[in-house]
Symmetry: C2
Subunit: 259 residues, 2 copies
DNA sequence: CAGTGGTCTAGACCACACT
DNA sequence: GTGTGGTCTAGACCACTGC
């Protein structure tokens, strides 16, 4: 047991609150690792200390550290590699390239389709409307960066996307930056702005393309499109991106696994 | 170590295959529990033996059984309840009622919307076409049961759904049965046919409603709809249901969490 | 070879639910 | 109180990676 880590509710005096608030030791360790992660003690892609080292640091058994790391790995914050170590996950890897993109070509996997391209149509500073501010936990009028782009697969424009990013954290984002890092926008966010996207929520609807949307996706006006509204979060569930994608689903589909 | 459970690859002779095929003990235990589950040794909703009992049965430590159960619980096959035991998961619980339905009302949670109703439009035996047979791992011409129904929330028809079920396993399914078990079709499948749906895959597209679809959902023809094509699987990844839902998304949305 | 994560064990104790 | 799952420990050994 860690002398510097009293087990939250151990002493003789009962908690003054009605909630027991019992927290297992491994959860506290998880919190401490999370803090170090958030503070940037270990950067995305780097290895964190070995389980034995962490156990020594926190004055805890290896098994307890292990359970804490297990949960962080289950949440995709860390990645375990047997024989090598435990690493801070990153969007900058071939494997995690399309971690959040669930659109798949109808005919097989992504490898079988042509190369992907991206065209930045727009990248400018705007002011948040009430509708934009709310999901980003900002206030109307706050500064945002808006990006509009089209993603094409095998030469076919397939996704029309608008991104809204908090102006503070993404000050200085340019269209050039968005064009680079092919396929890995979130990897660029990690490197250039120190923003790590950890999870996201999507709301999906079917809509009819308006004239402009249809033109940009080379479709007839009124064609059905999948509207995917995403809010992406960093540490502490702080929203850092609002994104609205319009997906063509005549040749692709959004794939989801349920269990 | 279990004397009746040689650790897969222990003896002196190397495996004749190129693959090492090392399998940890807890994975083997997981497999044995899975077999008992599939054989119906414990029914959905029932408790399985305690960890100590299973450890004794398999001649293994409690920790090893624990890890096996952990994985089964992570896959939603089992449910742990502290102080009570570990239970076979079932669709017949308030909590798991809509486990596979990701459509949510735009305004808050499901509780806030009106009561749900279901109207069975059709329930008859058909022959599998090639398109229906393939995802169900059957052959063209095999017997199927087809069900068509409309789900309404707060009096508004919201989902038009077709289900195709293997004729063998679902022999004798009637419209009456489909009407009962309000909200819990999969619970009825468990009780009446012994079919447990464990996981599913969905392919989502945006389409335009045709005349018939529009009429059944009280919409204008051509209105955009979410097409949700689901294949649900039971043990051993055997497909047991093909389902195609058309969702109105003017008042609802399909919600998905990414991580 | 040494170092890492992965498995397995045995035992102690804690939190929770039912009786 | 008894029995359940949940936590924590300490130690041994295994599998994988790279030097």
């Amino acid at each position: 047991m860690a002398s510097t880590l009293p087990p939250a509710e151990s002493g003789g005096a009962p908690p003054d609150s009605a909630t027991p608030a019992f927290s297992p030791l491994y959860q506290q360790i998880k919190g401490l690792i999370l803090q170090s992660l958030e503070a940037g003690e270990w950067k995305p892609g780097e290895a964190i200390p070995s389980e034995m080292d962490l156990a020594a640091r926190f004055r805890v058994s290896q098994g307890t550290v292990r359970k804490a790391i297990d949960e962080l790995a289950a949440g995709n914050l860390l990645v375990r590699r047997q024989g090598k170590g435990t690493f801070v996950n990153t969007h900058a890897e071939q494997q995690a390239q399309y971690r959040f993109l669930k659109l798949m070509p109808d005919s097989g996997d992504r490898a079988s389709e042509g190369p992907s391209e991206r065209t930045i149509l727009e990248c400018r500073r705007v002011r948040a409307t009430a509708e934009l501010a709310k999901p980003l936990a900002l206030r109307s009028g706050d500064a945002l960066v808006q990006v509009r782009r089209v993603l094409s697969f095998g030469g076919v424009p397939t996704i029309l996307e608008d991104l809204w990013l908090p102006g503070g954290a993404f000050k200085g984002l340019t269209a050039e930056q968005m064009s680079q890092y092919r396929g890995a926008t979130y990897a660029m966010f990690e490197v250039s702005f120190g923003v790590r996207m950890l999870r996201a929520e999507e709301k999906i609807r079917a809509i009819a393309a308006d004239a402009q949307q249809a033109q940009l996706l080379a479709l007839a006006p009124g064609a059905p499109l999948l509207s995917v509204e995403r809010v992406a979060y960093t540490y502490n569930d702080v929203p850092m991106e609002l994104r609205r994608g319009l997906y063509r689903t005549d040749t692709h589909h959004y794939r989801n696994d349920l269990s």
